[in-house]
């Protein structure tokens, strides 16, 4: 029967100490790999954050001399005689790479690959992910992608400069903008590596969650974080292939003379692009094809960024509210609905693209309706808070921040979902406000919350709560000050991706607001120093953590911090209940762990009622 594996589990730890390189570098352990992803994402975030600061300096004070910046980034500024005015080609690279790095290499990575790898085996009750070797391989593939992307700044005429959305013909024609020379090729190659790595991760996530859950962990007893990781992996497996297909076709258009995205009749710099036979080099392609393929990924992608934060928030909120999650089944349903709907709304990025207006209508339907499950999640969180006994530790503050940003950012989505108002708001800073609040903000705050919450499981220590709170307040206030005003200037018509807005009379009055935003952004950037200090200091010298420092219920809190090899020293515990059993008056403590067997009274109740709809 089942005894042999159990005994084996106890003996699992009698093998030799691994060499450092196999234990910490080319590791196959999910916790180490998760930390590797996390730290790499941090580095990428520093780069992308720096790019953002440069963008903000330009928007607030264009044509200003930045002599010291010209010294640091000579390729980006017209230096000479002490003048350091940013070059337009540099600006285009900045916003392109800021978006690319943040969306893929930071915010798809830290919450998903970072925390997913850390938490999935722990929350599922598994020794490791289903494919540990593939897991390690995925990290190193991802790292190659990072290197390629970062190297792109230093090749040829610089990094890609066609926007993170890389619309052809701008990204396909080498002469259209300097970044579309070698830089764009490096972008594509970097993305191919990233997608390969993400796919490997997705295979691991889904297989582990479906196959390796411990006894008793039925789907409706899974924590919301686990649900989120599952859905995110499914989304990725189904959606990223469209972008890879598009990237390969773009490579062909750029290097092999095909015309997947390039139409007939292209005239660059007043010179028709002709082949040796006197006919147009490119014939019959469609720029809109790229947009469809890109956004088929692009829209699920933004939910990939956001869903983990929503999962973290539910887990953290309940823990610190000391109250069960309100409407758990609807929360799961809402998350699944959001995930499913995310596949049929991509065209809302293309309302003014020239696509068929009937198609636009079809996309508006799903886009407006996706507000419903999103609203349900907010209401359920609010209901969870009502009647709670809230402990405002650092993780709780971040979770509350996620709720706040989700409300703010989500509501502006209702404006954009309507295709006609979108005519005025498309490609303005209103859109930038929307996605920075809901997607970037929720994801970022989710990562910070998850970090402070699960830090014990990463490093066996607690982060400093005072420093954490200070970091939260600076970030929360500076974040809103940076991004909320973008709604207003966007309504006023302030365009995106614009090197010098004040060439337009109607935008000149907005400069003071841009200055305010830039100063707030600088404060936001500098405030992150608090996080770095806290993170690295605590990893080595923070207060040592016990198994369950937050008095939580999940499986990950039933083992040491950090977990030993194999995650549990003996047998893996079985699960008997859902993870949100807080404040039950029938129990001595205000929380009951998932692994706690049913009491006699509970068993009687179950026997009397039969298999119940109730979570426990």
């Amino acid at each position: 029967m089942a005894h042999a594996p159990e005994a084996h589990a106890g003996e699992a730890h009698a093998h030799a100490e691994e060499a450092f390189i196999w234990k910490y570098v080319f590791s196959k352990n999910h916790r180490i790999i998760g930390i590797q992803y996390y730290i790499t994402a941090m580095v990428m975030a520093l780069v992308a954050g720096l790019l953002a600061m440069l963008i903000r300096l330009q928007l607030a004070w264009p044509a200003r001399d930045w002599a010291f910046l010209a010294k640091i980034f000579p390729m980006g500024y017209d230096a000479g005689g002490g003048f350091g005015v940013m070059r337009p080609e540099f600006y285009a690279m900045l916003f392109t790479m800021h978006g690319t790095i943040m969306v893929f290499f930071v915010l798809s990575t830290a919450p998903v690959s970072g925390f997913g790898n850390l938490l999935i085996p722990l929350q599922s009750g598994a020794r490791d992910m289903a494919f540990p070797f593939l897991n390690g391989l995925s990290y190193w593939t991802f790292l190659v992608g990072c290197v390629v992307i970062l190297t792109s700044f230093f090749v040829g005429a610089g990094a890609a400069a066609g926007g993170w959305t890389a619309y052809p013909p701008l990204s396909a024609l080498k002469g259209a903008v300097p970044g579309s020379e070698t830089g764009q090729t490096f972008w594509i190659v970097g993305m191919v590596f990233f997608i390969a790595a993400f796919t490997m991760g997705g295979l691991n996530f889904v297989t582990t969650i479906i196959n390796l859950r411990t006894k008793g962990l039925s789907p409706l007893r899974m924590p919301m974080t686990l649900w989120a990781m599952f859905l995110v992996a499914v989304l990725g497996l189904l959606a990223f292939p469209a972008l890879i297909a598009a990237c390969i076709m773009l490579i062909f258009d750029r290097h092999f003379g095909t015309s997947f995205f390039l139409p007939t009749g292209l005239v660059l710099n007043n010179a028709p692009m002709l082949g040796p036979d006197g006919k147009f080099l490119h014939q019959g392609g469609s720029p809109l094809l790229w947009q469809h393929l890109f956004w088929f990924l692009g829209h699920p992608e933004v939910y990939i960024l956001m869903l983990p934060a929503l999962g973290f928030t539910s887990d953290i909120l309940t823990n610190f509210a000391r109250k069960p999650l309100f409407g758990y089944k609807s929360m799961v349903g809402a998350m699944c609905a959001i995930g499913g709907l995310s596949f049929i709304v991509w065209g809302h990025h293309m309302f003014v693209s020239g696509m068929n207006p009937y198609l636009a209508m079809a996309f508006a339907v799903g886009t407006i309706l996706i507000a419903v499950p999103s609203a349900v999640k907010v209401f359920n969180w609010l209901a969870t808070l009502r009647g709670a006994r809230i402990r405002f530790n650092t993780p709780m503050l971040w979770a509350m921040g996620v709720v706040s940003l989700f409300i703010s950012g989500g509501l502006s989505g209702v404006w954009l979902a309507q295709s006609a108002p979108d005519i005025q708001l498309h490609d303005t800073m209103f859109v930038a406000a929307h996605f920075h609040l809901i997607m970037a903000g929720a994801a970022l705050f989710g990562v910070f919350g998850a970090t402070s919450y699960w830090f014990p499981k990463m490093f066996g220590r607690m982060m400093n709560d005072t420093l954490g709170k200070a970091h939260f307040w600076f970030t929360f206030i500076a974040y809103y000050c940076t991004f909320f005003p973008m709604h207003y200037i966007g309504i006023a018509g302030h365009l995106r991706r614009i090197y010098d807005p004040y060439q337009y009379e109607f935008l000149k009055p907005l400069q003071p607001i841009n200055e305010f935003i830039t100063i707030s952004a600088l404060v936001l950037g500098v405030s992150q120093i608090l996080f770095f200090i806290n993170f690295f200091w605590s990893a080595f010298a923070g207060k040592k953590a016990g198994e369950n420092p937050w008095e939580a219920n999940g499986l990950e809190w039933t083992t040491a911090s950090p977990p030993p090899h194999g995650n549990w020293p003996g047998a893996i515990p079985a699960v008997h209940r859902w993870p949100y059993e807080y404040a039950n008056p029938d129990f001595p403590k205000d929380h009951v762990m998932q692994t706690e067997p049913l009491t006699a009274a509970e068993q009687q109740e179950k026997a009397a009622e039969g298999p119940s709809r109730h979570e426990h």
Partner: protein, 262 residues
């Protein structure tokens, strides 16, 4: 200490509500100069409804943060579902969204409807980094273009051998429009994707090479307004600026001739 954080969060949330609401009551939209007032109404309605939700949910968030803090002694309430309440708020939200959807689809149908028969025809061709504007002239027909003929002197590749091309009026970065007359604009591009944006008219349409997309609208007030490019198109994207001159209908022909003469 815990109580302080809760209070701070509540205050910060209230401050957000107050400031956000205050600034949203100001007028940000560029003054409307076209017949697309319905778009402004839709934006206003979005503001009012989402604003109400924003205020309500944030005030609840603030209140709960302040009121339900851990006292170290009592437990939280144990209830965690209420099917009637959940159905209620789901249905109400769905109803509100369906209303938005219905209105949005109707408005879109209106905006994308075919132009009236008497709409004046104009062609706008974007290129890196200018707007080439073309009027059909007295014969009412635009001359043939062939991109093979494009050159420095002839950026849109006008086929001068076509009889209809002879009276075409070409302007650069300028549009002259008669007041109160519908105009249909055929939007094209020579090289990359641009976007023809008239902030005062609530008009925006991507200019895609290989496609001709037609939109129409009616300018309502005389004056000078700006054209902007709203799709990143390269180094000069930020300076693809143009001017729209809306003149009284009876002065249109002269105004156009003046503009062409320059």
């Amino acid at each position: 200490m815990g109580k302080l954080q809760g209070l701070l969060f509540a205050l910060a949330t209230v401050a957000l509500v107050v400031l956000a609401t205050f600034y949203f009551t100001r007028t940000w939209l560029p003054p409307l100069k076209s017949d697309r007032a319905a778009i402004d109404h839709a934006i206003w309605l979005s503001l009012v409804v989402t604003g109400a939700v924003f205020i309500l949910t944030n005030l609840l968030l603030a209140y709960f943060s302040w009121r339900y803090q851990d006292d170290g002694q009592t437990r939280a309430a144990y209830w965690h579902h209420n099917p009637r309440l959940e159905w209620a708020w789901t249905l109400v939200t769905a109803l509100i969204m369906c209303t938005f959807l219905f209105k949005a689809l109707n408005l879109w149908a209106e905006v994308t409807s075919p132009p009236p028969a008497d709409a004046m025809l104009i062609e706008v061709t974007g290129q890196q980094f200018a707007w080439n504007v073309r009027y059909p002239g007295p014969d009412g027909m635009l001359g043939r273009t062939d991109h093979l003929l494009a050159s420095q002197e002839n950026p849109i590749g006008l086929d001068k051998t076509d009889p209809h091309a002879a009276d075409d009026v070409l302007l650069l970065n300028q549009l002259v429009l008669p007041q109160n007359r519908p105009v249909r604009v055929q939007i094209r591009s020579m090289d990359v994707i641009h976007s023809f944006f008239l902030p005062n008219f609530r008009v925006k349409q991507d200019a895609v090479p290989g496609m001709t997309v037609q939109i129409w609208f009616t300018p309502k007030e005389t004056g000078d307004y700006e054209i902007a490019c709203a799709e990143h198109c390269g180094l000069g994207h930020y300076r693809m600026r143009g001017q729209v001159h809306v003149v009284a209908a009876d002065g249109f022909d002269k105004a156009l001739a003046d503009a062409a003469g320059q």
